[in-house]
């Protein structure tokens, strides 16, 4: 357990100190959301109707950008070899690294989402729901994304390939994330989609590290 | 002073500008102190500059 915390806190510290990755993901999120009105026209009623979808898609794309660094940097400098011979099973190594990715990318993006809601004239009542659903949904983004990151760790043009592999896996998160925010469903519908969203994340937290560790074992050969 | 029905927006605007600029100024001062202290610590340890201005390449 001590090793797990050591790895988690080291990854968070590296992300904070190197800073670039978090800032780039947030900036990308902002730019993608701002491009939407330029493409669709500045009609505020239209924008507020599609706000939830735009925010979720932009959030997924922004998170996607930072995924490939989860294992790549550690592979390049040989850290991954040493981590693999450590006392921690590889499944927990991938779990710690996915969790660190969620803390340094998922949480900042979730906090940023309502700020960008202003640009899309999102209904004020939807803000708490938006934060809650993005926080509940983004673990799936990091933990499923780690699978793609492990699979494409050694490939050239890994970023594009990663998007191709991982985006289909995000479909359930996207559907229930949006249906929770587009409040038309009413309180019971809202609770249902929120619970399903959390369940998807829980499945991802279990599945992601297992699959990513299996992929890493092949990659380390 | 009566600023009408939208006084809150005026106050928030001024507060936001004040907080941001004050924050920047404080950060600049703190950063300046830190760099000066680092420089002094290095010089006290006997590391000397080789040329007049190696700071700028």
């Amino acid at each position: 357990m001590k090793s797990f915390w050591a790895l988690l806190s080291r990854d968070v510290r590296l992300a904070v100190r190197e800073g670039g990755a978090i800032g780039t993901a947030l900036g990308f999120f902002l730019v993608v959301v701002s491009l939407m009105p330029l493409g669709l026209g500045p009609d505020l009623n239209l924008l507020s109707r599609i706000a939830a979808g735009v925010l979720w898609i932009a959030l997924l794309l922004a998170a996607l950008l930072s995924l490939n660094r989860i294992f790549e940097a550690d592979h390049e400098d040989g850290t991954l070899d040493v981590l693999a011979t450590g006392p921690l099973p590889l499944e927990l190594v991938t779990a710690a690294k996915s969790l660190a990715h969620w803390i340094t990318t998922g949480i900042p993006l979730a906090i940023m989402a309502p700020v960008l809601g202003i640009l899309l004239n999102l209904d004020l009542a939807a803000y708490p729901i938006l934060v809650a659903t993005t926080l509940a949904g983004t673990p799936a983004v990091s933990f499923l994304g780690a699978i793609g990151a492990a699979l494409t760790m050694k490939t050239r043009r890994g970023g594009l390939l990663l998007a191709l592999i991982v985006l289909p896996l995000y479909v359930p998160t996207l559907i229930f994330g949006i249906s929770a925010v587009s409040a038309g469903a009413g309180p019971t519908g809202l609770a249902a989609s929120f619970l399903i969203l959390a369940a998807i994340s829980l499945v991802a937290i279990v599945l992601g590290p297992l699959a990513a560790a299996a992929a890493l074992k092949v990659q380390l050969q | 002073m009566d600023l009408g029905p939208h006084a809150a927006f005026i106050w928030i605007s001024y507060a936001a500008v004040t907080v941001t600029i004050t924050g920047l100024i404080l950060w600049l001062i703190a950063d300046g102190r830190k760099q000066a202290a680092d420089l002094e610590a290095l010089e006290r340890q006997g590391v000397k500059r080789r040329s007049a201005a190696p700071g700028v390449r």
Binding site: K2, S3, A6, L7, R10, R13, L14, R17, E18, E76, D77, G78, T79, D81, V82, L83, A84, T85, G86, P87, L88, L220, Q221 | -
Partner: protein, 207 residues
């Protein structure tokens, strides 16, 4: 304690790299792997570490911890240093200490390992400032940060100067004399004590 490999056959892709290799390294011994580039030294070390599954044959550590794999009882030093440039020298060593070893007396152990490789005055500097040789030494300091009975070193003297190589040799000698064992791939004669040489080229000729 004894590291034993029996009738080892290792394939990489469709190429057979190692064919029917057997050897044993006893506690207190260092085995030096020699042979030209591409002969399979790195492959053999990565197989011992457990990254590559051999096509045939057995690798085992007699007298080791039965609950751990050989890799988990080994220090593996490859061509890369596993050093993060935005962490300081001390933070790098400290991380590997906590991650690899949960034992006590961590601070003194970290300090001793940095001192052994001549980095003690640099411990507060970010590793980004280090030269290639200094980074290599920081990578090697990992060997002393946590106690492990088996050392698997792949070209450990790469980018080291003479004085630094001597420190590495001293570390390996200390390790073997206190009952550890080491397998080292290298081109250069290192002057190790209690060392045997295994020439992979000759081995291949024999097979």
């Amino acid at each position: 304690m004894q590291l034993i490999a029996e009738d080892l056959v290792i394939d990489r892709g469709s190429r057979r790299i190692i064919d029917g290799l057997s050897f044993a390294v006893k506690a207190g011994e260092a085995l030096v792997l020699t042979g030209a580039n591409g002969i399979g030294k790195t492959t053999l070390l990565r197989t011992l570490a457990g990254f590559i599954r051999p096509f045939r044959g057995v690798i085992r550590l007699d007298g080791g911890d039965d609950e751990l794999t050989l890799g988990e009882q080994s220090h593996v030093v490859g061509h890369t240093n596993a050093v993060k440039s935005s962490l300081s020298v001390a933070e790098n060593a400290g991380f590997w200490n906590t991650y690899l070893d949960s034992g006590e007396d961590s601070p003194s152990r970290i300090a001793a390992s940095l001192r052994h490789f001549g980095l003690e005055d640099l411990s507060d500097f970010p590793a980004a400032y280090l030269s290639a040789g200094q980074k290599r030494r920081l990578g090697l300091a990992r060997l002393l940060v946590a106690r492990r009975p088996v050392w698997l070193l792949d070209e450990p003297t790469a980018s080291l100067d003479t004085a630094s190589s001597e420190r590495l040799v001293a570390a390996v000698n200390d390790h073997t004399s206190s009952g550890g064992l080491a397998v080292i791939a290298t081109h250069l004669p290192l002057g190790l004590e209690r060392a045997r040489t295994l020439d992979l080229a000759a081995q291949r000729m024999a097979a």
